[in-house]
């Protein structure tokens, strides 16, 4: 049973149920973002022979709360020459963009915000909001560094959407569905039904698909990394070049919004990658709930697997960030247009050929 139906059965009102249903991702995103900031600091610290936050709560676990509470108290500066409307809308729009993506991500078999048949296309479309927000921030700040960051970011995100979309088309050819929920549900029973292992296709096709699915997975992971501006693709906010990129001029809660959006976005892309290739909320081994005959346990287990896959990929993103240097703008573009897109196109053609045969 979906959570939405559960709300309807309680309130007998679609509006209230839909409202409550749409709030659930917030209850996940905000604690996750706080946790991810803390995780990032701890992960980086331990990679660098340090300890990271230690003084705020045991092992600094309250650090993110202190940060947020402090950012709430900070003065909200809008520069005199800034374009105030754009400057104020930008953080909200950026957050809305990444929040909207959560609408079609299946958290478990019992919860998906909106079970759209065009889910995958919707994601590609809606993440454009983030670009708009970043461009507004860059322009509205009236700061050259911000503008630089914003223009770089827009160019980067728009470019890297192409390989992402190409890989998504490859998946559509195999699954014949754009619905993320169906996609996740179908990759069931064990990990060899995941798309990365050829999915739930029958016969020799499955074996033939495996290498190309791996290639697709690597391409989409690299391009999502670029879409969320993480190292080695973090040139829009490259600290050593552009100070803080498009959010250079933002202070207080508006900056916190960008921060929140960044970490939410990290999770969103990880979740999408795992939903497409790694079975989404499906367990790799089967469910304790079905063994013990406790049907209510299954969605909870599924949520656990979903969250752990997402967090694992977020962790990999952090790992890369604290290991790799950063690319230059032209190299970044060259990487996209000269390598990823041709490979993705060829991959698409080969997969199409396999599926036709």
């Amino acid at each position: 049973m979906m959570i939405y139906d559960f709300f309807i059965s309680i309130f007998h009102n679609e509006l209230i149920a839909a409202f409550l249903n749409s709030i659930i991702p917030v209850a996940f995103i905000v604690p996750f973002a706080l946790f991810a900031v803390y995780l990032e600091r701890k992960v980086s610290a331990h990679m660098q022979d340090r300890l990271g936050p230690m003084r705020v709560g045991a092992h600094g676990w309250l650090q993110s709360f202190a940060d947020i509470l402090k950012l709430l108290q900070k003065e909200d500066i809008v520069a005199a020459k800034a374009d105030k409307k754009l400057f104020n809308i930008a953080p909200v729009l950026t957050f809305v963009g990444c929040y909207a993506v959560f609408a079609v991500i299946p958290f478990s078999s019992a919860y998906i915000g909106a079970n759209l048949d065009l889910g995958l296309l919707y994601i590609v479309a809606v993440s454009g909001f983030v670009v708009a927000g970043i461009l507004m921030a860059g322009w509205g700040s009236n700061n050259k560094y911000s503008l630089f960051g914003a223009v770089r970011s827009a160019a980067q995100i728009v470019s890297y959407e192409i390989p992402t979309t190409l890989v998504i088309i490859t998946i559509i050819i195999v699954t014949k569905s754009l619905n993320l929920y169906d996609l996740s549900v179908n990759q069931t029973s064990n990990m060899f039904n995941w798309m990365i292992f050829g999915g739930y296709v029958e016969g020799w096709h499955k074996i033939a698909l495996i290498p190309f699915m791996f290639i697709g997975f690597i391409i989409i992971y690299i391009s999502t990394l670029a879409e969320v501006n993480r190292t080695p693709f973090d040139i829009p906010e490259a600290e050593s070049e552009l100070v803080a990129g498009y959010h250079t001029e933002y202070s207080g809660m508006k900056f916190a919004m960008f921060f929140l959006a960044e970490y939410a976005n990290m999770f969103a892309v990880s979740a999408i990658v795992s939903a497409i290739f790694l079975g989404g909320f499906q367990s790799p081994f089967g469910y304790l709930g079905s063994t013990l005959n406790l049907p209510w346990l299954i969605p909870i287990e599924q949520f656990f697997w979903f969250a752990s896959k997402g967090i694992f990929f977020v962790f990999v993103q952090m790992w890369l960030r604290w290991t790799l240097p950063r690319l230059r703008v032209d190299q970044l573009m060259a990487m996209c247009w000269k390598y990823l897109i041709p490979i993705a196109v060829v991959n698409l053609l080969i997969v199409a050929l396999i599926m036709v045969l």
């Binding site: 610290a45 936050p53 709360f65 402090k70 108290q73 500066i77």
Partner: protein, 164 residues
């Protein structure tokens, strides 16, 4: 500093608890402007590096002053730089704090007599909360300065004291 500071005329338990929470948040997450001036900046970097690790206290360098809470004036402030230091301080949103690190920014240090281009003490242009002596101060001294600043923040209040 801050909008609410010294805005209330009477003290009560709710105010006291809110105050404690606010001050706790402020003192636990002092983001620093990533900004070094001279020799002391190297010791400041050493303090952020693995051996001493500023991050334990929640201090991380932010490249943009808009997102920072403290500025550590780490080194000699020259006349040419003083104008920029002042501008930088003005760019930090309230509540903001200043640590003056090293003799040079405290009082001109070894350049006090013949330094025709050295500002004798950064407190001639911006208000300073904590002075850390030394030339350059050891990382431990800077950490001590930070703890002193935290102590100071802990005692900030929203209550306006009656003028005697």
């Amino acid at each position: 500093m801050g909008l609410l500071d010294k805005q209330f005329s009477d003290d009560n338990i709710i105010l006291a608890k809110t105050e404690d929470l606010m001050n706790w948040a402020r003192l636990s997450s002092l983001w620093q402007v990533g900004f070094g001036l001279a020799c002391c900046a190297i010791e400041m970097m050493a303090t952020s590096a693995s051996h001493w690790d500023f991050d334990r206290f929640g201090v991380i360098p932010r490249p943009s002053p808009r997102q920072s809470d403290i500025i550590i004036i780490s080194g000699t402030v020259t006349l040419k730089m003083a104008i920029r230091v002042k501008r930088l301080y003005e760019q930090i949103p309230d509540p903001k704090y200043v640590i003056s690190m090293g003799s040079c920014s405290n009082c001109g240090g070894p350049y006090w007599e013949h330094g025709y281009h050295v500002l004798k003490g950064v407190d001639r242009v911006i208000p300073v909360d904590v002075y850390v002596p030394g030339c350059p101060p050891r990382p431990e001294a800077l950490l001590e300065g930070l703890l002193k600043l935290q102590e100071k923040i802990r005692n900030e209040t929203m209550v306006r004291k009656a003028v005697v």
